[in-house]
């Protein structure tokens, strides 16, 4: 068996050398395609993280206007507790809000030193059993969104003592559409690039077969099987696609280190993808690379398959 493996790899290596420039073009297209493909997967994962962080503990904040009347707090608490889907209602006074604020922005003196805790609003924090119950709460409080002629929006509520209700639904909707646009957009480009990578890899295989048509003709005459003839070319396509995949994975790690990790310093509250996320998309990239090689092999060699 040993000389066979050696034979295949020797043929593949000489094919790649002979076809250098075209093979390089195929490889770089495969790289860009697979990189964008991986990027779209990572974007989807990142938005998933953000969404989960928001919906993970489904909480609605009802901000109260100053000065706070404890009677109003009791009244609102009662009222909200009777709403279906509300698990608990908690009153956060200035002290507690202030402490939480200092924990959240611990690393950033710009905020902690300049924001006066007296200006932070007190709030009622509701735990919901489901994020979709949000509308029930705004309805109970009589809140509605007022759109002013100049396009600005603000909330007004009929219940007294309420400043605003944090609207997660809208944020989630926006996040969702942002995910879709970014992730699908990049994915779409990736698909187009993958198709051109298939075309280019197929073309290198075809050129390789053309350059070696005499050799192939002799192989046929002396009784080499079709597989014996095809395998070096298939390996060649596979090598091109896999080198593209390896560079794509390296590229994604670079993005993670130089873009994502830099963000980590400036926005500690934002959940970010980790190395494990890049590792998790690796199999998909390799799978896509294998697909490129297989489809390219099938297309590239179709014309040469007749005995």
């Amino acid at each position: 068996m040993a000389p066979r493996v050696e034979y295949f790899f020797r043929e593949t290596a000489s094919g790649l050398r002979r076809n250098g420039v075209v093979a390089f073009a195929a490889m770089s297209t495969a790289f860009i395609a697979l990189f964008l493909f991986g990027l779209s997967l990572l974007i989807a994962r990142e938005f998933n993280l953000v969404t989960r962080a928001i919906t993970g503990n489904v909480e609605v904040q009802v901000y109260l206007s100053d000065p706070v009347n404890l009677g109003t707090v009791a009244h609102l608490t009662d009222k909200l507790q009777s709403v279906q889907g509300v698990a608990s209602v908690e009153y956060w006074n200035k002290d507690r809000t202030c402490k939480q604020f200092h924990i959240l922005f611990a690393g950033q003196p710009v905020f902690t030193e300049n924001v006066d805790c007296r200006n932070l609003p007190t709030s009622l924090r509701l735990n919901l059993s489901e994020v979709t119950n949000f509308r029930l709460i705004t309805a109970t409080l009589g809140c509605s969104l007022i759109v002013e002629p100049d396009g600005d929006q603000h909330q007004e509520c009929t219940e007294p003592g309420i400043r605003s209700v944090a609207d997660y639904q809208k944020l989630l909707d926006r996040l969702d559409s942002l995910t879709r646009v970014l992730s699908l957009g990049v994915f779409g480009i990736a698909v187009i690039m993958l198709v051109s990578a298939i075309g280019l890899v197929a073309n290198t295989l075809r050129m390789g077969m053309f350059a070696r048509r005499k050799e192939i003709g002799i192989m046929r005459l002396v009784g080499a099987t079709n597989w014996r003839i095809r395998v070096p070319f298939l390996i060649e396509g596979m090598v091109e696609a896999l080198l593209g995949a390896a560079s794509a994975i390296a590229g994604l790690f670079l993005v993670k280190v130089f873009v994502v990790d830099r963000l980590r310093g400036t926005a500690p509250w934002l959940p970010l993808i980790k190395n494990t996320d890049v590792v998790a998309v690796m199999p998909w990239i390799l799978l896509a690379a294998a697909l490129v090689a297989i489809v390219a092999g099938t297309i590239g060699m179709r014309r040469f398959l007749d005995v």
């Binding site: 000389p3 066979r4 005499k214 002799i218 192989m219 002396v222 080499a224 014996r228």
Partner: protein
């Protein structure tokens, strides 16, 4: 060893290359197929290699019914058939040794078989001292010897030769014919398509003459015309 039974070959463009041809060739025979260009000699060879399918009739080679074997089995058929051509079909970037070993390598023969058989067969065709010569360092006759060595190295039952002396001068042609005769004497069935009148007349072997796709003469110990 070779049998064509009422074989007709019509190409897709409507040209009839062979028409109702029946030929029987026994094991160990040496047969010339003669006739003008376009008489169907090359088509006959292509049919025997299953590079083409007969439009009608049956072709048997080395006990195999060619229209019944799947394309998957065609390579195994060809391992029993050696082929020699007018233009030698050698790979220019490979030495004599490598050109011959290539034929064994691509059918998966192990290295020790290659290392034993290749020098042996090159010695047999008279090139024992030119193992490492490239084709452009060899004369036409020597290149054809390499190609015969390649055709014979896997010990085929049948050797098909299409104008093997077409590019060679008369003296060299005679040497090549001596070599083919030698190959024939060890039991290899040989079918050789040729234009070379002098050779056919000198060898006095069986002659099958084709004209416009039909067998017009089949004569043992015949001459060219």
């Amino acid at each position: 060893m070779i049998s064509l039974q009422r074989v007709t070959k019509v190409y897709r463009n409507g040209v009839t290359a062979l028409e109702d041809v029946s030929v029987e060739i026994d094991k160990g025979e040496f047969v010339f197929v003669v006739g003008p260009s376009g008489s169907g000699k090359s088509t006959m060879i292509r049919l025997l290699l299953k590079q083409e399918e007969a439009s009608r009739g049956d072709v048997f080679v080395a006990g195999k019914h060619l229209s019944k074997i799947t394309s998957f089995k065609v390579p195994h058929l060809r391992r029993n058939i050696g082929t020699v051509f007018q233009d030698y079909k050698l790979l220019q970037d490979k030495t004599a040794f490598e050109n011959v070993s290539f034929a064994l390598e691509v059918i998966g023969k192990p290295k020790h078989v290659i290392d034993q058989r290749v020098p042996e067969i090159l010695e047999y065709v008279g090139l024992g001292d030119k193992l490492n010569a490239y084709p452009d360092e060899l004369s036409g006759g020597e290149q054809q010897r390499v190609s015969i060595a390649r055709a014979c190295v896997n010990r085929p039952l049948v050797l098909l030769a299409d104008e093997p002396t077409g590019n060679l001068d008369p003296n060299t042609s005679v040497d090549i014919m001596r070599l083919l005769d030698k190959v024939n004497r060890i039991g290899t069935t040989i079918l050789m398509a040729t234009h070379d009148q002098a050779i056919v007349d000198a060898m006095r072997k069986r002659v099958i003459e084709l004209d416009k796709g039909k067998v017009v003469r089949d004569q043992s110990r015949g001459v060219y015309s």
